[in-house]
Subunit: 216 residues, 3 copies
Amino acid sequence: MEFINIIDYIGTFAFAISGIRLAAAKNFDWFGAYVVGFVTAVGGGTLRDLMLDTTPFWMEHLSYLIVTGLALIFVLIFRKYVVRLDNTFFIFDAVGIALFTVVGVEKSLEAGFPVWVNVIMGTITGAAGGMFRDIFINEVPLIFRKDIYAMACLLGGIVYHLCLWLGLDTVLTQLIAAVSVFLIRVLAVHFHISLPALKSIDQTADRGDDGSVNPS
Amino acid sequence: MEFINIIDYIGTFAFAISGIRLAAAKNFDWFGAYVVGFVTAVGGGTLRDLMLDTTPFWMEHLSYLIVTGLALIFVLIFRKYVVRLDNTFFIFDAVGIALFTVVGVEKSLEAGFPVWVNVIMGTITGAAGGMFRDIFINEVPLIFRKDIYAMACLLGGIVYHLCLWLGLDTVLTQLIAAVSVFLIRVLAVHFHISLPALKSIDQTADRGDDGSVNPS
Amino acid sequence: MEFINIIDYIGTFAFAISGIRLAAAKNFDWFGAYVVGFVTAVGGGTLRDLMLDTTPFWMEHLSYLIVTGLALIFVLIFRKYVVRLDNTFFIFDAVGIALFTVVGVEKSLEAGFPVWVNVIMGTITGAAGGMFRDIFINEVPLIFRKDIYAMACLLGGIVYHLCLWLGLDTVLTQLIAAVSVFLIRVLAVHFHISLPALKSIDQTADRGDDGSVNPS
């Protein structure tokens, strides 16, 4: 088993835990919780693979189902301590989106797509699983309202291509891109950095004091 | 028209009715209700076919659109009696998931996938339509909170492969697997058997009296 | 740049604006609003392309991302005036669904599918983006409860095939079909024409005075 696989499993495990915990909060039965955990872990990569017209990655390795099963057992056994482990899971999750983003960028690159498609595929791989999770449990997707999340994936995809453009080798490029996603995510949460909300147009129509960004 | 087609149409009809009835309860117009009925009936198989990289099955036979139309007409005409027919529809629906599960397992098997992928494809074919229905009408998917539903499909897929492994012929395998799904579903509802909810971790963090299962 | 491209960009712009505005009302950050705008604009065509087994159209032209970006900038700059522009956007949106419907019908026709598949693909292209938007922002899809929307796309697809059957040339067929969708949509809103709701079966079980249509 290579190092990259271990990281991949850690990411899958962390994503599955996040899905299972939120499903538990909605009183899903444990089979439903398993499904939500699995979709959280593999949903982004599945959407990417459908768009790239390849077989969804998890259909070729049993490991993703097994890791999700381990995540469910972990939650069932250690449920009393899971809340205290929040910081640990947050780090796992940040490692997960970092690696998943790099995997997504590379799969798209290998399929011969242009830079901007690769960046989007990296972002979908890293962030869409969490979006499916929120749709499943009938919540407005959190990833668009809280912290820097999908944005970290997007920036990581851009960093990846900058490294390639600078002529760095593949391993170094992967490392720098993944570390970028991880750091952007962790620092954004630590320093409470978030993108400005796009305030409701109707609410702000007469105020104009909404502190919105003004890209140009 | 073969026997298998008749069963297929009964399953489609029952699924479409279930979608149309729930859409009606949300005040969808009849076109919207038709769409929800159609998605309920063909959504699972469509997701399966996208993952198996084949053309969605309903794009090759007009019959699924027609059967959904008949279901809509049936609801419009017999709406006063539809509630009383709950038990009838429940049986139709159970027949539907039984057959759809077998169809899904076989399509995946023919495409050359391993056992565990076939079981998942069977489950998606049988249960994902109801999930799409619930997302459409903006409810938390019921299938993860109520009774044994997706679980019956999963067990049916396993039974299918056990029969193959025992060397039974195809027709007998199909029959035993479908009957298994049907019986598991019907008996679970009759005896109020359901999987334990995965209680909210945060609620139970200090209690520990949640009666959870402890798989190992 | 050809005329058809200009129309395509206008439709994309209008769809993106509609997604961004609804995301803003839900306090999405501006990145999330961009994503919702993009999904609203390209979601229908993406689902169509996945079903037709071709690469999603927006992965082959950067323009859809750029137009969505322009829509976001437009909303940010002119937010105070956007509400007053409701009628303008409504016309843009109606132009958008008209063109998208024709594009969808033609892509399916070129792929060799029968008439009824083409009509469905046209409807999905024109109307599914708005459905994804509503699922994203966690609302019951509006398009099934308000006005004639998906129905206009469906009728436009039928008009397209009627024109072909009458032997009209391609350009005239495109024009008549698109104008049909546009007019059906605009006239339905202007004259408050909508399909009857399929009243809740349980609510109306004892009344029978629900004014429902009775197709037969």
